[in-house]
Each structure stands twice: as C-alpha cells, then as structure tokens.
C-alpha cells in the first residue's frame, strides 16, 4: 500500500495517493469557502453558486455537460458543507484529459447563466419540498436551528424556501468571484497516475484561477443553549419518532479532542456502545442508537440519534438524558477505554484501505487547517489517550444541562410526555413540518 505524496502546484497544496489497482482516477477539489460565509438573509448561497458553476462549466449547457461525462465514463458531484465546497469525481483513466478540461472550465470559466440560475432555483425549491418527506432530516434541521440559533451552523446549507428567492444571480456571481481564488483551493488525487501526471493535471486546473489571497472568515465560537430546550416538528400520522439530542462538542484543535472522541465512541460509536446496548439490545426500542462528534472550523455539536415508536419516545429521551449525565458524572471504565482505543486504532485500516480514502483523509486535514500529516499519527495519539484524560474531557466539554432535544412526530401525542421527562426544560417549540423556514 503506497503512502500519500504531498506537494504544491502554483501555491495550491496537493495530495496524491497513487494506485494502479484499477484504471480509475479520483479527483477531489476542495474550496475553503463554505456555507458559514452565507449571508444571514441568504442561506444556501454558497451551495447554489457551486451548483450553478457545475451546470454552466465553460459556457456549456447542462445536458451537454452530462452527456460529456457519460461519454467519458466519469462522474462529478458538487457538495457544499459549512467550511468547504467540494467538487469530487472519478473518471476512467483513458478519459482523464477531457475530464480535466471540464473541471478547469467549472472552476475558472462557468458562465453562471441567468436562465440556468432560474431553473436551478426552481429545482432547489422542489428539492426542499421533497425533503419534508424525511422525518429524520426534519429533526436534524430543527436541532441545528435551535442549538446554533444565531450562528452560521444554525443556517441550512441548502437554504430554505424563505431564503431561496434572495439568492439572486448578482449575489451568486459576486459570491463566485469572492470564493474562487487560488489561495482557497486544496486538491487530492488518487488512482492510476504518477506524480508528473498529477502535477500537470493540477496546473491545468489552477493556473487560470485568480491569484487573490482572501480567505473565508472563521465563524465565531458557538454558544451553548440556555438550559434544556425541546423542539417538536409536528407531522401527522407518525407511528414512529425521530429523536436528535444535541449539545456542544469539541474542536479538533482542542488538546483533549481525541480523548473526547474516544469517550464518545464508548458512549455511542459502535454496536457495543452504552447507548446501543441500553436502547436497542436491552429494550428493543430503536433499530439504531448512535452518538457522533463531528469536527469543523469551530466547535461543532455532539449529537445522539434514535428512532423509537411514538409510545416509547418519552421513555427513550429520559433514558438518553440519564445515560448522558452518567457519562459525564462517572466517566468511562478502564475496560471501556481500552476497548474503544483498540477499536479506533485498529479500524483505522479502513480509513486508508483505498487510494481515494487516503487522499480524502489528507484533504480533510488540509481543509480543517491541520498539519498535512495529522492522520499519519492518528493511531499513536488514540493509543496514548488515558482514562483520566477522557473523563476530564467529558467534564470539560459536555454540559448535559444545556442541550436541545429535537423530535419529529405527531406533536399532540408527544408533547406532554416529553415535557415530563426533561428536567430543567426552559422552552418548548412546536414547528409545522411544512414550515417555510425549516
């Protein structure tokens, strides 16, 4: 298994993970100018701008772009996150030249055509309406809006029905100009190409990019919610509920971040975790029960996700609160810590078992502002986490008295039961599932 090669081309950091296992080349382009830069009244701007560039690369019409990709045996996906916009794809090796030209046209020469912009907004509106069919997505949206109220993380990357009309072509073009400067890019390549070919490819992609030095402003640190808050997304005829619990987590640069990561794994990061055992294995309440601790530019949320039937919703929330409090108060046992360290360190093999995963991991480090070799030493750092560090990180970073419980379900059947099992509840909101601001 070959390691990654790191170099720069015209000031753009590049990671190459060569592998001749398959005649494919993966191209991952990250632009460090994500949705946290969306204006307060313009949620979704970054994503719409990136999608419009993808649909008007080099002045082509969208059907011509799609036909071209199919002819190459290639794919190209645009995705916006809070910190980055990604243009990721894979192509048959024999089509790499044509693929590179298309990608360069996307990055440097999108026409950002007015008709396509209008079409895209109509499509985005239809997608937001369709998203109302996902009870899980509704609960997650409600959680983020409430937990990160007033913070960029509380806004939807996809925008809302209320914000889409404000994303005018003028704003999109202005955003594109601001966001598309060479200093904001990082690129990872994986698959069947050598360093010389990789350098030539990247040069073709970035040589015509504007040479500006602007960087996206770092968002402020989010503030923890006041007390415990309940938000119900009311939808009729639900036999089941989708429950998200969220509280502030940690930042990857925190010295105790990996210690907290190990602790979160014990709590809800595997089938043997406390949460899964208590909710699914011992009680049969929910098919899944998970906790996650994502990372971004600043402190993100630790979230818990379960989906019990409506009758079990309140007891399930009560149980999760109890488990969370016990976790912070009493900490992990040595046996749990050892198990989680072994799992995380040994399973790291699956984070790097393909060239595209190795390249992607390196790109994540770059876009998070971490040292390029951050993940090269991940296993040693996980194995170095001690019990007192993990338990101290739990106490320092997690505050179960300040959290949000978001539930999608039929509100009239749930509200009083839920309010009765959340001690310290400071507010309850009920949102219609078809609200234009959700």
């Amino acid at each position: 298994m070959s390691q990654c090669i790191r170099f720069e081309v015209a000031g753009v950091p590049v990671i190459l993970a060569p592998s001749a296992a398959l005649p494919l080349v993966h191209v991952l382009v990250a632009r460090r100018f994500g949705a946290t830069t969306d204006p307060v009244d313009g949620a979704g701007l970054c994503r719409i701008a990136a999608r419009l560039a993808r649909r008007t690369a080099g002045g082509r019409a969208l059907p011509a772009i799609e036909e071209g990709l199919d002819r190459m045996g290639a794919s190209l996906v645009t995705d916006a996150g809070y910190s980055t916009v990604a243009f990721n794809g894979v192509t048959l090796k024999r089509s790499l030249g044509a693929y590179t030209e298309l990608l360069a046209d996307l990055l440097v020469r999108p026409s950002l055509d007015a008709n396509e912009h209008e079409r895209l907004l109509r499509e985005a509106r239809a997608e937001l309406l369709e998203a109302r069919d996902s009870d899980r997505a509704l609960a997650n949206r409600a959680l983020r809006q409430t937990l990160f109220a007033g913070h960029p993380y509380g806004r939807s990357v996809s925008g809302t029905l209320a914000s889409l009309p404000s994303l005018t072509l003028e704003r999109v073009r202005q955003h594109h100009a601001e966001a598309t400067q060479r200093s904001q890019f990082a690129i990872a390549l994986a698959g069947d190409l050598d360093e010389a070919a990789a350098r030539a490819l990247v040069l073709r992609l970035v040589s015509d990019l504007p040479d500006g030095q602007s960087t996206a402003p770092r968002p402020p640190e989010p503030k923890a919610p006041t007390g415990r808050q309940l938000v119900l997304v009311d939808k009729p005829e639900r036999t089941q509920t989708q429950i998200y619990l969220g509280l502030l987590g940690s930042h990857v640069e925190d010295p105790d971040h990996l210690a907290l990561h190990v602790a979160a794994t014990v709590f809800g990061g595997s089938f043997s975790s406390r949460l899964m055992q208590a909710v699914r294995v011992e009680r049969g309440w929910s098919y899944g029960a998970y906790a996650s601790l994502p990372v971004d530019q600043v402190r993100q949320a630790m979230t818990l996700w379960t989906f019990p039937k409506a009758e079990d919703c309140a007891p399930c929330v009560a149980l999760q609160l109890q488990l969370l409090e016990e976790l912070v108060d009493k900490g992990l046992t040595q046996r749990e810590l050892t198990g989680a360290r072994r799992m995380l360190s040994r399973s790291h093999a699956f984070a790097i078992d393909t060239a595209s995963k190795r390249a992607s991991l390196g790109l994540d480090a770059l876009t998070l502002g971490l040292p390029a070799d951050y993940y090269d030493h991940y296993v040693e750092r996980i194995n170095a986490v001690q019990l007192d560090e993990a338990n101290a990180a739990l106490r320092a970073r997690l505050d179960p008295s300040r959290l949000v419980v978001a539930v999608t379900g039929t509100a009239e059947n749930l509200r009083s039961g839920l309010e009765g099992v959340i001690p310290g509840l400071t507010s309850t909101q009920v949102l219609a599932y078809d609200s234009d601001t959700l």
Partner: protein, 457 residues
C-alpha cells in the same frame, strides 16, 4: 469452473495434500479451480466434504480482508403468515452462542478493529465482516461459532422482534418510498412469494415464536447451503486450515424443497393508491421484468441507463430539466433469481399530478419501443456501466459482495465482468427487442401517492 493452467493447479494440489497430512478428511477442501476476476485478480473455488463452498481471492493492495457468508435463503423461501422470518433470523445471528454471551460477538470484532453487517433480500441472506489482516483466526472462529452453536431462547427473540418492528416503522410505515414499494410488489405479484416484503408484514413479525426460529435455522443454516467469500490480504493456507477446522465437522443438512408457484403473466394493468402527509405526488410503475439469468437482463439494464441514469438520460432530462415536472426520476431492474420488476419512479413537483408524470413517461416508453436507441446514447450507457463496475470494486468488501452475489444467484462468481463485457457488445436492435418485450402496459402496475394536504383542500 474452467480448469486452470497447470502450474497453479499443481501448486494447489500440493497445498491440499499438505493440509490433508495434518487435518482429518472432513476438514480438507477439494480444489475446484479458478477464474480471473478482472485484470489482476483470480478467484479460487474450494469445497469441503460437508458441501461448504469457499471462494478465495488474494489481494494485497491493503492490509485488510473481507469475510462474507452467503446463505441461500431469503424471503422467497417464506410461507404466508411467516413473512420476515429470514430477516428476523439475520438479526438473531448476532445473539448468544454456546461460547459467546450477549454482545460478545460484536465486542470482540470491534476490539479487533473489524466492522460487521448483514442484509437479507428476496433470494439470499449475507453476513459481512471486514477486518484488519491480523484478525483472520478470530473472524473464522466467531463466524463458525454462531453457525454451529447459536442459542435461540425466548427473551432475546422477543426483544429482537421489537427491534425489527421498529425497523419496519422506519423503512416502511413512516417512509413513503418504502410503503410505495411494498404496495407495488404486493399488487404486481399474486402467486410468487416476491409479493411479500423481505422485512415481513407487521402481524407476522409480532407473531413469530422461538420455535419458528429454531425450525428455520435447522432447515437453512447448513454448510451445504452456505458460501464463504474471502477477499483481501490473508495467508491462503491458514485460511483453508482455519475454515476446515471450524466448519469441517458441521453436518450437511437436508435442504427443504422449494415449494413456490411461478407468477402467471399479467394480462391487464393494475393500479393502487396511497395518501400520505407529503407536499407532492409520487408515481411508481412496475413492469414484470427479466430474471437475472435471462439473456435480456443486460439489455434491460442498458435501457434503464438510457432512460433514467444521470441527467442526460431521457426521462430525467425531460421530466426534471425540460418540462420541470419532477424533482427526481429513477429506474431499477431487479437482480433476482426469478423474474422481478422493472421499477420506474418519479417525484412530482408542487402542483403536478401523478397522471401528468405518467403521460410524459408513457410517451418516452412508447418512443423507446418505436425507435432504436442512438448509438451515442448506447455508448454513453455502456461507459456508465463500466465505471459503475470498476467503482464498486475499490474495496475488499466491494469485491467480496460482487463475488458472493453472483455466486449465490448465478453460480458464477466472476459474472459481473462477463456481464459488463456482454453489455459492451449489445446493439440498438437488442435494446429495441427488450423494450418491446417488457414495456407493455398490460404487464405493469401503477402506484400513485397522493398528498394528504391536497386531499384536505
């Protein structure tokens, strides 16, 4: 499986003799040959005296391996009132055994850095463990232990029934796509067991007894109904010895005769409707299609690509891009042992009716039966399938899934490559013939989802 070049055959014969010198005959596999799997790899077939099949594929591109157990039992083998048993049983396989307490199986694998999963479908049940290279002994031991000594007792069975009921609420009862699919198959099939959902009807899930589970286990979880697929970085001799020791003494089973009725041809269109709390209408069509082994399954796959794969495809371009009637259009042809359905589904935009979607879809289906597909369209579809095949083989797990699937369904583990090669040779005439055979309105079922909001207003 075709015989291979002599040097490898001789090498394998020596290997078998070496193992035979150390282990009892029941634990010694017979070498049945190998076939190429792509440009670089080979898949080798072994059979133990109790009927257990092992497919091995050495691939040292990463220090990991994937260990799959494919059991030839799926929801097609279930009887009325006992639907969902194969799937429930898949859940129960993670429970206690003679040597392992509740949760030990998962804990031991997790601590070894392994990930595990399982799935059940119409024709099979499969179990996956992906593990770092050093964990081979543990994985073989745990997988054989649960096959040999699973404990089925009342309390865990009752809890797992609750979990499955919750899974059903998640995937079907509160999920529009799941509910639509269930109604489509139930309406399209009258006799064949494909009419029942793999997860089972709720009343059947609630009604299972521990004895039902024991009978099912005894009937189907025998080594001669199982294929192990191991792909990745492992020492072959050690694998053969470990599998022989762990599984070799398990007795073969008398497999039940499959007692099912083939579906009769459908002679008129069937319609069904659902009303749901959703802002927009949805439409799903199901045409009776080819079995995976049908000579025209490949042509239908390419037709699906031409119609619905990517934004340049006919239906997506027309409904999503040009007419702006839909948010999404998808199509799928079932890869099943018996003839399944060709499904086409579309999500309407606000104010658009399912009938309006159907008119445009029908127009395109009539066109594809009337005019040959252009050579450029065909070529694009062929490139997409080539990319899809290769992209699915990036990981050891992806390779094991592909091998296990085609071995279980067609008895040819490397059939994925054969199929894609065959597809490259298909012509517009082949697609025209397949379109005329399958896209006949009288052999379809139409399911419309109405918006409860619209109904209320």
């Amino acid at each position: 499986m075709p015989q291979i070049s002599n040097p490898l055959l001789k090498k394998r014969q020596v290997l078998v003799q070496t193992i035979a010198a150390q282990l009892p005959p029941a634990c010694v596999p017979e070498y049945l040959g190998s076939v190429p799997f792509g440009a670089v790899l080979r898949v080798e077939r072994w059979r133990y005296p109790n009927g257990l099949t092992l497919l091995s594929c050495e691939d040292d591109c990463a220090p990991v391996f994937s260990y799959h157990s494919w059991v030839r039992v799926g929801s097609r083998h279930e009887r009325p009132t006992k639907t969902g048993l194969a799937h429930l049983f898949e859940h129960l396989m993670f429970g206690e055994t003679a040597e392992l307490g509740q949760g030990d199986y998962d804990r031991l694998l997790e601590e070894a850095g392994a990930e595990n999963n399982a799935s059940t479908w119409l024709d099979f049940t499969q179990y996956t463990v992906n593990a770092p290279a050093g964990a081979l002994s543990l994985v073989v031991k745990l997988e054989a232990e649960r096959l040999a000594h699973l404990q089925l007792v009342d309390e865990p069975v009752a809890r797992e029934k609750d979990v499955v009921a919750n899974e059903r609420r998640y995937r079907v009862d509160d999920d529009i796509e799941g509910a639509t699919s269930e109604l489509l198959w139930k309406t399209a099939f009258v006799r064949h067991p494909y009419r029942a959902p793999t997860i089972g009807w709720m009343e059947d899930i609630e009604g299972f007894t521990t004895e039902d589970c024991r009978e099912f286990f005894k009937a189907y979880y025998a080594p001669n109904n199982l294929c192990l697929v191991v792909v990745g970085d492992f020492p072959l001799r050690k694998l053969l010895e470990l599998v022989g020791k762990a599984y070799g003494e398990l007795p073969s089973g008398e497999l039940p005769v499959e007692d099912l009725w083939p579906e009769l041809p459908q002679s008129e269109e069937r319609r069904a409707e659902l009303t749901k709390p959703t802002p927009t209408e949805k439409l799903t069509l199901g045409y009776h299609g080819p079995a995976l082994g049908d000579a025209e399954h490949g042509a239908v796959n390419l037709l699906i690509e031409v119609l619905c794969a990517g934004r340049a495809s006919r239906l997506v371009r027309r409904l999503v891009h040009d007419e702006e009637l839909a948010t999404d259009v998808r199509a799928f042809v079932g890869p099943f042992r018996d003839p399944g359905l060709i499904e086409i589904s579309a999500v309407a935009r606000e104010g658009v009716t399912a009938e309006r979607l159907l008119a445009s879809i029908d127009d395109e289906l009539e066109r594809i039966k009337r005019e040959p597909v252009a050579s450029d369209e065909l070529e694009r579809a062929q490139r997409r399938t080539e990319l899809g095949l290769l992209a699915g083989l990036d990981t050891a797990d992806g390779k094991a899934s592909t091998l296990g699937f085609y071995e279980t369904l067609l008895g040819r583990p490397a059939a994925a490559f054969e199929r894609v090669e065959n597809w490259q040779r298909l012509t517009p005439s082949d697609l025209l013939r397949a379109a005329r055979r399958f896209f006949e309105p009288q052999q379809r079922t139409v399911v419309c989802v109405r918006s409860q909001q619209e109904a209320n207003t």
